[in-house]
C-alpha cells in the first residue's frame, strides 16, 4: 500500500486538500505520497479488526459499518 500524508500521524489537517506536517514543519498536500518519516495514524484501515466490504470505501468492524479513514476508536489494534 502506498501511504499518503493524510494517513500520517505527523499531519495536522488544514482542510480536505492540505495540511501541516509537524515533522517537516511545512504545508503539504494530504494526498501526496508519504515521506520516510511516515508513521500511520490510528485509522480503521490500519486496524486488525477492519474488514473491507464489497462497497468501495466502506468496511466492517465487529458487525458495524465503518469506513477506512475513520479515526478515534479506543479499541484500535495496529495490524
Amino acid at each position: 500500500m502506498t501511504h499518503k500524508c493524510a494517513d500520517c500521524i505527523n499531519l495536522s489537517p488544514r482542510d480536505v486538500f492540505n495540511g501541516y506536517c509537524e515533522a517537516k514543519e511545512q504545508s503539504v498536500l494530504i494526498d501526496d505520497a508519504a515521506c520516510p518519516s511516515f508513521q500511520s495514524t490510528q485509522k480503521c484501515k490500519f486496524c486488525k479488526k477492519y474488514e473491507a466490504s464489497e462497497k468501495e470505501f466502506l468496511g466492517i468492524c465487529n458487525g458495524e459499518m465503518v469506513y477506512p479513514d475513520l479515526g478515534g476508536c479506543e479499541q484500535f489494534t495496529a495490524k
Binding site: 489537517p13 482542510d15 480536505v16 486538500f17 492540505n18 465503518v66 469506513y67 475513520l70
Partner: protein, 913 residues
C-alpha cells in the same frame, strides 16, 4: 431612483448623495494584527471549508445501539460518544485551542436533523417531490464561489451544497448515515407531522412559489440566541455534573422521569465534552514533548495544564475563562445544526477574571489584545453545514455577536476597560466574526462611543449600533407574561444578527437564558403583492397558491385590503404549520448542552425545547423586501388609482414583461444600476426604419408595430413607476403605507400562538435573503426589475431611492414603534470622506444619537468607496481580506454571492452627513 432624462435606470454603477470625490478613497483608520494573529489568519485564508464525518458517525452508531432508551438519555449518550471521538488539532502559535473538528474551517453534516441535502440530486428529488421543500428556492439561489468555498468537485473531493468540501473516500459512509436517518430525521418527521395541518397542501404551493426563504425547522432551528457562560464560570463542568446528580437524587421520589432523563443526558453530554478537552490536553503535552523552541514548548505546556484544569474546574484567571467560553461555544455549535449562538455580553462576563489578573500583574493590556485577536480568528473559522437554500440565507456567516456597553442589572453603565480592548482587537485583527454591537445608552461615556466610531471607520461594518431603551422596552412588553424583571431586561443582548434576547442574571452576574429565535425564515413580501395582482397565482411559476380572490381591485383600499389579508394568511399558515413541524423535533434533537448552559434549565429539569429557559417567547417570523412592496403599493396608488396614468392591466402586462428588459437572472447583473433592455435602442430604431420603408408584409407590419408600441408603453410605465414616491425620504404619503403594512402584519404575527402557547414575534431584517428572494420575484411596481435583489434590512431604503439625505431616512425609518418588533434593521453606506477626522466622527455620532433619540433600534454602516467594491468585483484576487457589512453581519467580499455584491455596490453612498 437615479434616472436618465427618458426615465431609464441610470447606468452608473452605484447611487450617490452628494458630490463624489475624484480619487477613490481607502478607509481612514487602518491597523495591523499582531504577528501571531496574522499567521493564524493566514492559515484561515488558506483553508477550504471542509466536512468531517467523525461526529455524525459516532453519534449515529451510539444512537442505534441505544434504541429503546429514553430519548433524552439516548441523545446524551450519542453526544458523549460523538464528542469523545473527535480528534484534537493544535496549530503552532495558538493561544486558544479547540476547533469544531480536525479541519480549520471544519463543519459536519448533522443527519439526524437534515439528512437529505448530502444525497444525490436524484435521490433527494424523490423524497422532496411532495414536501414543502426548498427545491424551488434552491433553483434561484446563487452562491458565492470565492475565498475558502469549495464550489467544484475534484477527483478526491466532492463539493456539497456548493460550499463544503467532502473527501470522496468518506462520502459512501456519509451516505449510509444519511440514509439511516430516512424517516427518522427532523427533516423527514417535520414533513410527516406537518401534513397533520389541513392547509399543508397550501404550504407546499407557498414553498413552490418561493414565498419564504428556507425551512428553519430542520435547516437552522436553533440559534439567534445567547450562550450563557455563568454556570461553568461559577462552578466548572464538574460542578455542573454534581448539580445534575444532586437534582437526580433530590427528585427520585417525584416520579418525574423526564426530568431525571434530562439531568442524566446533561451529565453524559458534559462528560463527552470533558473527554474532548482532555484529548486536547494530551495533544498539547505530546507537542510540548517534541518541541525544540522553548517559547513554543512553554505555550504547549501551558495549554496542556489549562485544558486539564478547565475539563473539571471553574476558571482561575482570564486565560482559563476565555478558553472555557470558547469550549462552550464549540460544544453548542457541534451538538446541533444552528447559527447565531452569540457570545452576548462576553466583555462583561470575562471582566472580573481580567480585572483581577490586571490588578495582580498576571496579564498586560498588550497580552490581552493578543489573546483577543486570536479569539477573533477562532470565531471566524466557524462553519455550519446546510443545504443550498439555507446557504442563501446565511451567506456563509455564523452570526456570533458580542454586545458592548449597555447597562448593568443595577442600572449603571456597563462599559469597562476590557471592552475597549475588544474594540481595539477588532480593529487590529479585522475578521468577520465575532461581530460587535454597541448597546447605546445615554450613560455611556463619549470616549467609549468615539472609540466605537473609530472602529466603524476601519470599514469593518462593526460595531452595529443598537438602542438600549428600545430593547429594554421590548423585553418588558413582550416578556411581561413571563414576569421578566427589570434586571434581566437590562441584561438583554443580541442573539444572532440583531434579535433582542432578554438577559438572565445568574448569581448577580450577566448571563443568558432564553429560547432560540426559531421560526419563519423570511417571508417574501413582494411575492404577496404578486399574488394579489394575479388573483392568487404566482406569475413566475404559475403555481396557484390561493383560490382566486375574485376582486376587480377597483380601488386602492380594496387592493391594499386584500394584500393585508394575504399577508396575514401567509403568515398564519407558515406559523401554524411550523408549530406542527417543529414539535416533531422536540424529542429528537434537543439542545442538551446549550440547555445545560442556559439559565434555569438544570434548575427546572427541562431542556429549552420544553421551556426550561427562563424566557421562552421567542418563536419569530422574519420578512424581506417589505420596502419594495411598500414602494410598489405607493406607485400603484399614485399611478393607477389617484392619477390614473395607466390601468392595473397595463401595469401587469408591463411587470410580466419586465418593462421590456432582460431578467437579471439572465444577464447576471442583480442591481438596478446595471440592467439591459431586451431590445437595444439601435434595434428598435432599425425596426421603425424598416416599417417606414415598408420592408414587411401587412400582417407582420401590424404585429411589429404593436410590439414596438407595447414596448414604448412599458418604457413610459416604467419611468412613472421609478418616479413614484419612495420610502426613505420622509414622505408622509409613502411612510404611512409602510406603517399600516408593518402594523397590520405585526398584529397578524402575534395572533398565532407558538408551541408553548405564547404569541409569535415579528422581526425585520434580511440577512442574505434579499438576494434569492429577489431572484424569485418578477418585476415590481416600484420599477425594480425581475430577478433584481430586493431592499436589504427592514428599514433600509431601496438603493438609489433615498434622495433627501440621511436624516430623512431616519425619519422614515422611525415611522413605526421599533419596540414592537424583535428587531428592526437600517443599513447606510458612507463614503470615508463624509466622516473624516474628529469632526467627521462627531457628525457620525450625532447621526446615530439622532436615530436612537427618534426610537430607532438598529443602524449599521458600510464605510467604503463604491468604486473600491467595483474594483474588488473585477479583481477579487487583490481583495481577499476586504470586508463589508451585509444585513446584520459582516462578511468577506469574496465570499458573498454576486446578487448581494451588486446590491452592496448599488446602495446609496452618502458623501456628506
Amino acid at each position: 431612483m437615479a434616472t436618465t432624462q427618458d426615465g431609464m435606470a441610470d447606468p452608473q454603477p452605484s447611487f450617490h448623495y452628494g458630490e463624489v470625490p475624484k480619487e477613490v478613497a481607502g478607509r481612514e483608520v487602518k491597523k495591523e494584527a499582531c504577528p501571531r494573529a496574522k499567521k493564524l489568519l493566514q492559515d484561515y485564508y488558506d483553508a477550504k471549508v471542509s466536512l468531517d464525518t467523525t461526529f455524525p458517525y459516532w453519534y449515529t452508531r451510539t444512537w442505534k445501539e441505544q434504541e429503546g432508551q429514553h430519548p433524552l438519555v439516548r441523545r446524551g449518550l450519542a453526544l458523549k460518544s460523538a464528542f469523545s471521538h473527535l480528534e484534537p488539532c493544535i496549530r503552532p502559535g495558538e493561544l486558544l485551542v479547540m476547533q469544531r473538528n480536525k479541519y480549520v474551517r471544519g463543519a459536519s453534516i448533522v443527519p439526524w436533523t437534515a439528512n437529505r441535502f448530502p444525497l444525490s440530486d436524484e435521490e433527494r428529488a424523490k423524497s422532496d417531490a411532495l414536501k414543502a421543500s426548498n427545491m424551488e428556492l434552491e433553483k434561484v439561489t446563487i452562491l458565492a464561489k470565492g475565498g475558502g468555498v469549495v464550489s467544484e468537485s475534484t477527483k478526491d473531493v466532492l463539493s456539497i451544497s456548493g460550499r463544503f468540501g467532502q473527501r470522496m473516500d468518506e462520502y459512501p459512509a456519509l451516505l449510509e448515515l444519511c440514509r439511516y436517518w430516512n424517516n427518522k430525521s427532523a427533516e423527514d418527521t417535520c414533513h410527516l407531522w406537518g401534513t397533520l395541518h389541513p392547509e399543508y397542501s397550501t404550504l407546499v404551493n407557498m414553498k413552490k412559489a418561493v414565498l419564504m426563504a428556507s425551512d428553519m425547522e430542520y435547516g437552522n432551528r436553533h440559534g439567534r440566541s445567547v450562550t450563557n457562560y455563568q454556570y461553568p464560570m461559577q462552578m466548572g463542568f464538574k460542578g455542573m455534573i454534581d448539580w445534575c446528580n444532586k437534582q437526580i437524587n433530590d427528585h427520585l421520589h417525584t416520579g418525574k422521569v423526564d426530568k431525571i432523563a434530562f439531568w442524566k443526558s446533561c451529565i453524559y453530554a458534559i462528560e463527552g465534552v470533558q473527554i474532548w478537552i482532555r484529548k486536547y490536553a494530551a495533544k498539547a503535552e505530546q507537542l510540548a514533548a517534541k518541541e525544540k523552541d522553548p517559547q513554543q514548548k512553554k505555550e504547549f505546556e501551558e495549554i496542556a495544564e489549562r485544558m486539564t484544569w478547565i475539563a473539571e474546574n471553574k476558571p482561575r484567571n482570564f486565560m482559563d475563562a476565555i478558553q472555557l467560553h470558547w469550549t462552550c461555544q464549540l460544544q453548542v455549535y457541534n451538538e446541533m445544526q444552528g447559527s447565531g449562538f452569540s457570545p452576548g455580553r462576553l466583555g462583561q462576563v470575562l471582566y472580573p477574571f481580567w480585572k483581577k489578573d490586571i490588578d495582580e500583574g498576571r496579564i498586560t493590556p498588550e497580552q490581552t489584545l493578543e489573546v483577543l485577536e486570536c479569539m477573533r480568528v477562532k470565531y471566524t473559522e466557524l462553519e455550519i453545514a446546510t443545504c443550498v437554500g439555507t446557504q442563501g440565507i446565511l451567506a456563509g456567516n455564523t452570526f456570533n455577536n458580542i454586545c458592548l456597553g449597555g447597562l448593568k442589572p443595577d442600572g449603571t453603565s456597563a462599559e469597562n476597560e476590557l471592552e475597549y480592548l475588544f474594540i481595539e482587537a477588532a480593529m487590529k485583527c479585522a475578521t468577520v466574526s465575532p461581530t460587535l454591537s454597541l448597546i447605546y445608552d445615554g450613560k455611556l461615556s463619549d470616549k467609549f462611543l468615539l472609540k466605537a466610531i473609530e472602529c466603524n471607520k476601519t470599514g469593518s461594518g462593526y460595531p452595529a449600533w443598537v438602542n438600549n431603551r428600545v430593547a429594554i422596552e421590548y423585553c418588558l412588553k413582550k416578556h411581561q407574561a413571563e414576569n421578566i424583571t427589570v434586571e434581566d431586561a437590562r441584561a438583554w443582548s443580541i442573539g444572532g444578527c440583531l434579535e433582542i434576547q432578554p438577559g438572565a442574571v445568574v448569581n448577580g452576574e450577566i448571563g443568558a437564558g432564553s429560547y432560540s429565535s426559531s421560526g419563519i425564515n423570511f417571508i417574501n413580501v413582494p411575492k404577496i403583492l404578486e399574488l394579489v395582482l394575479w388573483d392568487g397565482e404566482c406569475p413566475r411559476t404559475d403555481v396557484r397558491v390561493f383560490p382566486p380572490h375574485g376582486s376587480k381591485l377597483e380601488t386602492f383600499e380594496e387592493l391594499f385590503g386584500i394584500f393585508k389579508q394575504y399577508f396575514a394568511k401567509v403568515t398564519r399558515i407558515f406559523q401554524e404549520t411550523y408549530n406542527f413541524k417543529t414539535a416533531a423535533t422536540f424529542e429528537l434533537d434537543q439542545p442538551i448542552l446549550f440547555s445545560a448552559l442556559s439559565a434555569d434549565c438544570i434548575e427546572k429539569g427541562a431542556d429549552i425545547d420544553h421551556e426550561g429557559s427562563r424566557y421562552n417567547r421567542c418563536f419569530t417570523t422574519w420578512i424581506t423586501g417589505q420596502v419594495n412592496a411598500v414602494n410598489s403599493l405607493a406607485s400603484i396608488k399614485t399611478n393607477v388609482y389617484d392619477k390614473k396614468r395607466f390601468t392595473l392591466d397595463q401595469l401587469k402586462d408591463a411587470l410580466f414583461n419586465n418593462f421590456g428588459y432582460r431578467s437579471a437572472v439572465d444577464t447576471g447583473n442583480y442591481s438596478m444600476a446595471e440592467q439591459v433592455k431586451s431590445k437595444s435602442k439601435e434595434e428598435i430604431d432599425e425596426a421603425w426604419a424598416r416599417i417606414r420603408s415598408n420592408a414587411y408584409c401587412v400582417q407582420s407590419r401590424a404585429h411589429i408595430i404593436r410590439d414596438l408600441q407595447r414596448a414604448e408603453d412599458w418604457d413610459k410605465i416604467h419611468a412613472l413607476c421609478l418616479r413614484a414616491p419612495k420610502f426613505g425620504n420622509d414622505d408622509p404619503f409613502v411612510d404611512a403605507i409602510y406603517k399600516e403594512m408593518a402594523e397590520s402584519w405585526r398584529d397578524a404575527v402575534e395572533q398565532t400562538l407558538d408551541p408553548f402557547g405564547r404569541p409569535w414575534c415579528p422581526s425585520m431584517l434580511s440577512v442574505g435573503t434579499h438576494g434569492p428572494l429577489g431572484q424569485a420575484d418578477i418585476a415590481s411596481a416600484d420599477g425594480r426589475l425581475a430577478g433584481v435583489t430586493l431592499a436589504d434590512g427592514g428599514q433600509s431604503p431601496y438603493p438609489g431611492t433615498d434622495v433627501n439625505g440621511p436624516y430623512a431616512v431616519l425619519n422614515s425609518a422611525t415611522i413605526i414603534d421599533h419596540s414592537d418588533y424583535k428587531n428592526t434593521q437600517l443599513n447606510m453606506k458612507m463614503h470615508p470622506s463624509a466622516i473624516k477626522g474628529f469632526e467627521g466622527s462627531r457628525k457620525m455620532l450625532d447621526l446615530i444619537k439622532a436615530y436612537m433619540d427618534k426610537g430607532g433600534y438598529h443602524i449599521q454602516f458600510n464605510v467604503v468607496d463604491s468604486r473600491m467594491l467595483k474594483d474588488a468585483q473585477a479583481h477579487p484576487e487583490n481583495y481577499r481580506d476586504l470586508m463589508v457589512r451585509v444585513a446584520g453581519f459582516t462578511h468577506y467580499w469574496c465570499e458573498i454571492a454576486k446578487p448581494i455584491q451588486d446590491e452592496l455596490v448599488a446602495r446609496t453612498e452618502y458623501e456628506e452627513v
